[in-house]
């Protein structure tokens, strides 16, 4: 055993001589309490500073509540914090109710804005693969409001889009409006919109004019389309924030994005972020459905809702409940490089404001 430790010491010394100081034993990690006593006790004092922490869990699992609690603690210590809101879902009222000092919180709302963000091809953050082209094609279809759709719905409208593929010939739709335009203009009419002439040219189908309102799913295309642009904006903003420095907690809320899409972010991005906050007091907190930063995360905490509380005081009401009062959350440490061991559990109660 003594020989082993001696060998390790020799090895470390040689690494240090070569300038590989990172192989030295880590210094004591400073911890930031998250405001939940039960969880702080399990984590040995709180979340590790200067590291990437992931809070994952499904919807309604309490991950956002825990993030707000951490922000409240940080802003109470008068630290500046940032919230990168990928799906523009932050509720300032909940934030204030959680005790967050709003003037100390920078809120960045990603989304489809008027700014000309780079397209996916120009973005260095996503891994390029064949899947990308397939996904981009799929994103052109009306996306569902929720995670999955029935295959029957996916086929809806295909026959109208590519009639020649299915062997159906649709009669050309005559549009009075288009004819008037063509006659008035006289020249410079698109070939597809020209009036039928004598000759051998086969009649072309005119584009159909939509007379009815678009399908309901289309109205939410902006929200449910593939989130590359929003993710790109979020990663760029986070990069700028972390390299600017001086932040106590930076939250990247990926909770509204499918974990399948989030996993397509290059791992090198998370390494870059982790490198940027190393040896700084900043905590980079990722909220998501599943862990995506993998080995870059110093702490991965999986949240799960265990039981919800409904006030049964007003039993005269038809449903028997009058108010929703909160739920119990279980936090499970699935990865930790700091103090606590994996599979540590903590349970705490959240309350409605």
């Amino acid at each position: 055993m003594a020989a082993l430790s001696q060998k390790q010491a020799i090895l470390e010394t040689s690494f240090i001589r070569r300038g590989l100081d990172g192989f030295q034993s880590r210094a004591t990690v400073e911890l930031q309490p998250c405001g939940v006593t039960e969880l702080d006790a399990v984590l040995g004092g709180g979340f590790p500073r200067g590291s990437l922490v992931e809070l994952c869990g499904p919807a309604s699992s309490g991950r956002t509540s825990l993030a707000y609690s951490l922000l409240a603690q940080a802003t109470e210590r008068q630290e500046a914090c940032a919230f990168v809101d990928v799906s523009d879902s932050l509720d300032p009222v909940s934030l204030a109710a959680a005790g967050v000092e709003l003037p100390r919180l920078l809120w960045i709302r990603c989304g489809e804005s008027e700014s000309q963000g780079p397209g996916l091809k120009a973005s260095p953050y996503f891994s390029s693969s064949e899947k990308e082209s397939r996904d981009s094609r799929m994103s052109k279809k009306p996306a569902p409001a929720h995670r999955w759709r029935h295959p029957r719905e996916l086929m809806r409208g295909v026959d109208q889009a590519i009639p020649s593929v299915l062997g159906k010939r649709r009669p050309p739709v005559e549009s009075a409006q288009i004819h008037v335009v063509a006659r008035c203009a006289g020249e410079q009419v698109e070939r597809d919109r020209e009036l039928p002439r004598r000759g051998i040219r086969a009649p072309r189908s005119l584009p159909a004019i939509r007379e009815t309102a678009p399908a309901r799913a289309l109205q939410y295309e902006g929200r449910n389309a593939k989130p590359w642009k929003r993710l790109d904006q979020a990663l760029k903003s986070t990069d700028l924030l972390l390299h600017g420095g001086g932040w106590g907690v930076v939250v990247v809320d990926l909770g509204g994005i499918s974990w399948v899409d989030v996993r397509r972010i290059n791992l090198s991005m998370w390494f870059r972020f982790r490198r940027a906050i190393e040896n700084t007091p900043t905590i980079l907190l990722l909220l998501g459905e599943e862990s995506c930063a993998r080995s870059c995360a110093s702490l991965v905490l999986r949240c799960q809702r265990k039981a919800d509380t409904w006030n049964r005081a007003a039993v005269r009401l038809p449903g028997g409940a009058s108010t929703f009062e909160g739920f119990e959350v279980q936090g499970e440490v699935t990865r930790s490089r700091v103090l606590s061991q994996p599979a540590d559990l903590a349970r705490w109660q959240t309350h409605t404001p």
Partner: protein, 508 residues
């Protein structure tokens, strides 16, 4: 000449001529020493001057001269609060001259010679090659500064002797006066000063008397101090319209550096900066200038020209001018420099100067109005918040830590999702949204919220908290999570005015 060269330092050491006047009467207004050595003289027509090779041409700009004169005044204010503006409204004779009162300044800055050397150095910082003279009265100092190059200190009472050695041309007398005096046999200032005063007035008038006093270097007129300016401006006329941002940034950089140098003399910082770009008009009939104005307010006063340039660059990238730029004017509102006590135990916060650039870059990424601090409005209306500019708040006394409970957070859907709710015996049983129906397992409500009935932002709604299990189709049933993970808590509401249901958000 110096008004042009200070904004274009690359012209130093080259032969430069300044043109003035409308074509075809364009003449050389000023030439520098290098151009004179080539044979170019003031007063030549442009056609004559074009015969000389290697001359760089610039057009005279009155606004550029005015800003250069303001910069010269700033140099003087850096030493003394009592500064007389040399420019006279009647003519251009003294527009390159300022007079300052050094009485009492010796105790602060040292001897008169040291102050003069400092003044010359300060003027060099803003791009001027200045002659500095110290004398017993203002006129003697002006004459000595015009006649002697570099720094001259004339002891009190010896003004006449020193100035008398100068030639008449050194005082920059008008050509008609010089010609007359030469005919009289007068060549130097001493000879001119020796002439009787009454005879000068009789023959040369009041103008001649003024020059005679200047040649004598003896005048007891009081110094008329000028008030301190409220803002600082720099102006530059471009030779050719600039279409791209990058060359425009070079111009902005020069103006910013000059402004920062001037403000540094007064220990002031920039609180607000306004850039006015005059655009080229395609329509020649309309003479009204077309301007593009951008204003940047700094939350923390700063004087770092690189930082300000970056802010201007990001702002102009977001709001580019629509036409080529012909003139650039930059005005700043000076404020007192920030004083801050640093400490070892201050809470973590970003550097204010770097933060501004970071915010501007993020704004360029996510769009305008999407970066800031959430501010709650004093109303019960849903989604009642604003997003204001992020400014680091002042530090306050830390309060004793109070035990806080973890509160349930809400994730909002923007815009809310249209939904349908089916009731059975007065209780909600099914929630439909996005083509999927969900069974309601538990609910609480309704909570009614109404308000703003007197305005256009009227709202009336019934809110419910519901717990639903997602109804998966058969194909997804096996892969779907079981148990509590499959159950979600929503807040839904019915818009009582539109009679429609929406999902507002999800408890998380």
């Amino acid at each position: 000449m110096q008004a042009v060269v200070r904004l274009e330092p690359e012209l130093q050491g080259k032969a430069v001529a300044i043109l003035a006047g409308a074509p075809p009467l364009t003449k050389l207004f000023a030439v520098n020493r290098e151009a004179s050595n080539l044979g170019v003289e003031t007063g030549m027509t442009k056609g004559q001057a074009e015969a000389f090779a290697g001359i760089l041409w610039r057009w005279r700009s009155a606004s550029q001269e005015a800003t250069a004169h303001a910069a010269l005044l700033d140099c003087a204010w850096a030493v003394s609060p009592r500064v007389e503006d040399g420019a006279r409204p009647g003519g251009q004779d003294f527009s390159d001259t300022v007079v300052l009162d050094l009485t009492g300044c010796e105790k602060l800055f040292g001897s008169a010679d040291k102050i003069a050397q400092d003044l010359r150095r300060v003027a060099a910082e803003v791009g001027f090659v200045a002659n500095v003279a110290v004398a017993g009265n203002p006129l003697a100092a002006v004459s000595a500064a015009r006649g002697f190059p570099g720094v001259v200190v004339i002891p009190a009472g010896e003004e006449g002797g020193h100035i008398g050695r100068l030639s008449l041309e050194a005082l920059r007398l008008p050509f008609a006066f010089v010609e007359t005096l030469h005919r009289w046999g007068v060549r130097t200032c001493a000879e001119f000063a020796a002439l009787p005063e009454v005879a000068i007035v009789e023959r040369l008038g009041q103008e001649g008397l003024r020059w005679w006093r200047l040649a004598r270097g003896a005048d007891n007129h009081p110094l008329i101090a000028k008030g301190f300016p409220a803002n600082f401006e720099e102006h530059m006329d471009l030779d050719a319209p600039v279409e791209l941002l990058e060359p425009l940034l070079f111009v902005l950089n020069r103006l910013l550096e000059q402004l920062c140098a001037r403000l540094r003399m007064h220990v002031l910082s920039i609180g607000e900066i306004q850039v006015t770009l005059t655009l080229e008009r395609n329509d020649s009939r309309n003479k009204e200038p077309l301007v593009h104005i951008r204003t940047i307010r700094l939350p923390v006063p700063g004087r770092d020209s690189k930082l300000l340039l970056k802010l201007l660059q990001l702002d102009l990238e977001a709001h580019p001018p629509s036409l080529p730029v012909t003139t650039v004017r930059m005005a700043t509102v000076p404020v007192k420099a920030r004083s801050r006590q640093l400490g070892l135990f201050l809470p973590l916060s970003p550097d204010p100067e770097r933060l501004e650039i970071t915010l501007a870059r993020i704004q360029g990424t996510v769009g305008e109005g999407r970066v800031g601090v959430p501010v709650l409005l004093d109303t019960h209306s849903p989604n009642s918040f604003l997003q204001s500019r992020f400014v680091l708040p002042e530090l306050r006394e830390r309060r004793s830590g109070t035990e806080k409970q973890a509160t349930v957070a809400m994730r909002i859907y923007r815009p809310p999702l249209p939904a349908s709710v089916e009731f059975q015996d007065g209780t909600p049983v099914l929630l439909g949204c996005g083509g999927v129906r969900r069974q309601i397992l538990a609910f609480a409500g309704p909570w009614k919220r109404k308000g703003d009935w007197w305005s256009e932002t009227v709202f009336a709604r019934e809110e419910w908290d519901v717990k639903v299990r997602t109804l998966h189709p058969k194909g997804h049933a096996e892969a779907a999570p079981r148990g509590e993970e499959d159950i979600v808590l929503y807040r839904v509401y019915k818009d009582l005015r539109a009679k429609r249901w929406f999902v507002e958000g999800i408890y998380d």
